[in-house]
């Protein structure tokens, strides 16, 4: 039974080191992300974005003259493990907690961070996360409750579609988006003629697409992860479905275009964060990221990068490193990209921790993501 005693010693050392206060030395950030398991792509992008931002900020002298130190912990894409890792991170009293990205993992960890009075900047996009009354939780991207109405509005106003087929992936991401947009369609009087649930990792979409074809909708809304999006686009092309294809972020992502090739042409969608946005700062970010990691990040990479700059901008605004006042300062804060270029775009945080920022409507033309319309920031 010696390992137990060893564990005890290790834990004891861990809690001792936590006793060092935040008053001097580096500013400690703790990241808990999906570095293995089903969410590995999400978590790894998020982590790389964080590391890039930390490196940049430290190279310029840190925040208020103090360097940033970030620790990464793997949640294995499992809420139980996420809870343990967040607990461990909180026991070390970080300045701010970053992550996780999966909504289920956010749900289980947010009460812990709130109890500890530590701000949590997360990647989750499920609508309900910021509606739980948590005073310490902030988004880095649009929640589904703000992105989906924009997509529904586009389908209603621009495409004038009266019937629509919805294809979604049956996990918390897909299901959450599907529930919001179907409600929105109902409000706009658009009929959902096919409601197709698919599996994460599904490779054959023939049956799903033939059902869509049989329903002959005016438009098809596709909400799948990147690889599955590419597969369904190919199948849709093969079966000759001609209705416009609309998505949110994933459908028109860089990875989908690479995988689907010509089949991605014509796909449209709303994108909150895209490395192809016609914004100079985002282009610069993309170049820096590609230089460091040798691949083009998806929106999760940008989210991780923004999370760290949110910490910097808020701390600069306070003029001191104060974990207790952090959340209060960030609520209602507007950060302009001209003042803090790391934020890439002007952004405002509301009292729920939700984000207000410009968004983009894009279309894939000749294998390239083209921004057709910039949706302005609301406030």
């Amino acid at each position: 039974m010696r390992p137990t005693i060893l564990a005890g010693a290790l834990f004891a050392i861990g809690s001792l080191s936590a006793a060092f206060a935040q008053s001097s030395g580096p500013i400690k950030l703790a990241d808990v992300a999906e570095l293995s398991g089903g969410g590995a792509t999400v978590g790894t992008n998020w982590k790389n974005g964080i590391d890039l931002a930390v490196e940049e900020i430290n190279a310029k002298g840190g925040i208020l003259g103090r360097k940033i130190e970030v620790t990464h912990a793997d949640s294995q894409s499992n809420p139980g493990v996420a809870r343990a890792q967040v607990q461990k991170a909180l026991d070390d009293e970080p300045y701010v907690l970053l992550g996780p990205g999966y909504s289920g993992s956010v749900k289980v960890t947010a009460p812990l961070a709130a109890d500890a009075g530590i701000t949590q900047i997360m990647g989750g996009e499920a609508a309900e996360l910021t509606q739980m009354g948590d005073k310490f939780l902030f988004r880095t991207s649009f929640g589904q409750q703000s992105s989906m109405p924009k997509v529904a509005k586009y389908i209603n106003d621009e495409l004038k579609a009266r019937s629509v087929a919805v294809v979604w992936v049956n996990n918390d991401f897909g299901r959450g988006g599907r529930d919001v947009i179907v409600k929105e369609f109902g409000r706009l009087g658009i009929t959902v003629v096919a409601d197709q649930s698919t599996e994460a990792g599904q490779s054959d979409f023939a049956a799903d697409v033939s059902k869509i074809k049989a329903a002959s909708p005016d438009a098809v809304f596709i909400y799948l992860n990147e690889e599955e999006s590419a597969r369904i686009l190919k199948e849709i092309k093969r079966q000759g479905v001609t209705a416009p294809l609309i998505g949110e972020t994933t459908l028109v992502g860089q990875k989908v275009i690479e995988l689907a090739g010509g089949a991605a042409n014509g796909a449209r969608g709303h994108v909150g964060l895209t490395t192809d946005a016609p914004v100079d700062l985002i282009k610069q970010f993309r170049d820096k990221f590609v230089k460091k990691y040798n691949y083009v990040p998806d929106h999760n990479g940008i989210k991780g990068y923004l999370a760290v700059y949110m910490v910097k901008a808020t701390t600069d605004k306070m003029g001191k490193v104060d974990p207790k006042a952090f959340a209060d300062t960030l609520h209602g804060l507007t950060i302009k990209a001209t003042e803090e270029p790391g934020m890439l775009m002007d952004v405002t945080f509301d009292e729920h921790g939700d984000i207000d920022r410009q968004g983009f409507l894009v279309e894939v033309v000749d294998g390239k993501q083209v921004v057709t319309q910039v949706l302005p920031k609301l406030h």
Binding site: M1, P3, T4, I5, L6, A7, G8, L10, F11, A12, G14, S15, A18, L35, S36, G38, H72, A73, D74, Q76, S77, N78, P79, G80, R83, A84, Q87, K88, L90, D91, G104, K107, V108, P111, E128, N170, N171, D172, R175, G176
Partner: protein, 332 residues
């Protein structure tokens, strides 16, 4: 075994129990969470050890039973039931489902049985995910309350750890008794030679079903505690990988040894945590460690100990024999 050896073992056991009670009192919340997780997983692995280790029935569904127990307890406690009552339902539900799953085991064995249980595991996952009216679907169930036991609130990590430890103690005593009872011997006869067991009058049919049902019920107990431990459940943690994890715990600890699941769960829960300092490599190192261990000793950690003890006993016996022989020779 000599009287001395027995006292030594009892003393060692008491020291371990005292350590498990006293040392964690100073742990931080993370340490307590991990230890509680260890206690819960040990209970689930003990169940599988009964089914697989003692009765020899391969099951890849133990994770699903943890899920059944977790959902039963989560649904009921969020509707205001006290945990002990919810736990009772968890146990009963998994017992009944386990019993039913035992029927295929009467017809198929070994890897065929593994496939049947694997199918059940997938089926359970689909039910957890798709029956959203009951299970909350992919959104899961949040805000699962932690119970009051005899008036004590277990909201804080330390009391909850003691609840898990206490449950582990009760389950351990029950299993200890079970495997020493005629039932336990009947289970082992199923594993060693079912035909012979039958010829000796053991009702193999009933004991096979029982081995499944009791093993699954312990999975249910573990699940019933897992839900209030994490206070949020969704279908993902109960997919096939948990069943495989539990299977690994049993085999690595030593399948068919009483203390096997304790050690196996310790390796599966604590080893990855200790290896986390290696950052991105921790899961890889963990996997390598397990592979090396199983190559070195296919019978698990306790298999090593068992071999060592058997060796020593043989040597002692030989030495005694040699002495006796020489005495005899001197007399002559």
């Amino acid at each position: 075994m000599s009287a001395n050896g027995r006292y030594l073992r009892i003393a060692a056991g008491l020291v371990v129990i005292a350590a498990l009670i006293a040392i964690p009192a100073n742990f931080n919340r993370y340490g307590l969470f991990i230890l509680s997780q260890w206690a819960v997983m040990t209970i689930a692995a003990m169940g599988l050890n009964l089914t697989l280790g003692y009765a020899g029935q391969v099951s890849l569904a133990q994770g699903a039973f943890v899920g059944v127990g977790a959902y039963a307890s989560a649904i009921l406690t969020t509707h205001g039931w006290p945990l002990p009552a919810a736990l009772g339902v968890s146990i009963l539900t998994s017992f009944i489902i386990g019993w039913l799953l035992g029927y295929p085991a009467l017809r198929v064995q070994h890897h065929y049985l593994a496939f049947v249980t694997l199918a059940f595991s997938t089926l359970a996952f689909l039910v957890f995910r798709n029956e959203s009216w009951l299970t909350g679907g992919i959104y899961g169930i949040s805000n699962i309350p932690r119970p009051h036991i005899f008036g004590f609130a277990t909201n804080k990590p330390l009391p909850f750890y003691y609840l898990c430890l206490g449950s582990l103690a009760i389950v351990s005593l029950a299993v200890w008794w079970l495997i020493r009872s005629p039932w336990g011997r009947a289970f082992m006869s199923l594993r060693e030679n079912p035909l012979r067991a039958q010829s000796l009058g053991v009702d193999t049919r009933r004991y096979t079903l029982m081995a499944f049902a009791i093993g699954s019920a312990l999975g249910g107990v573990a699940g019933g505690l897992y839900a209030p431990l994490t206070q949020y459940i969704d279908p993902v943690p109960f997919n096939l990988s948990l069943s495989l994890d539990l299977l690994m715990m049993v085999i690595v600890g030593g399948s068919g040894f009483f203390f096997g699941p304790f050690l196996g769960a310790m390796i599966a829960v604590l080893l990855p945590e200790w290896l986390r300092f290696t950052q991105g490599y921790y899961l890889m190192l963990y996997a390598i460690a397990v592979i090396v261990l199983l190559i070195w000793s296919p019978t698990g950690i306790l298999g090593i100990l068992d071999r060592f003890l058997a060796n020593r006993r043989t040597k002692t016996a030989s030495a005694l024999r040699a002495v006796a022989k020489s005495r005899l020779e001197t007399v002559q």
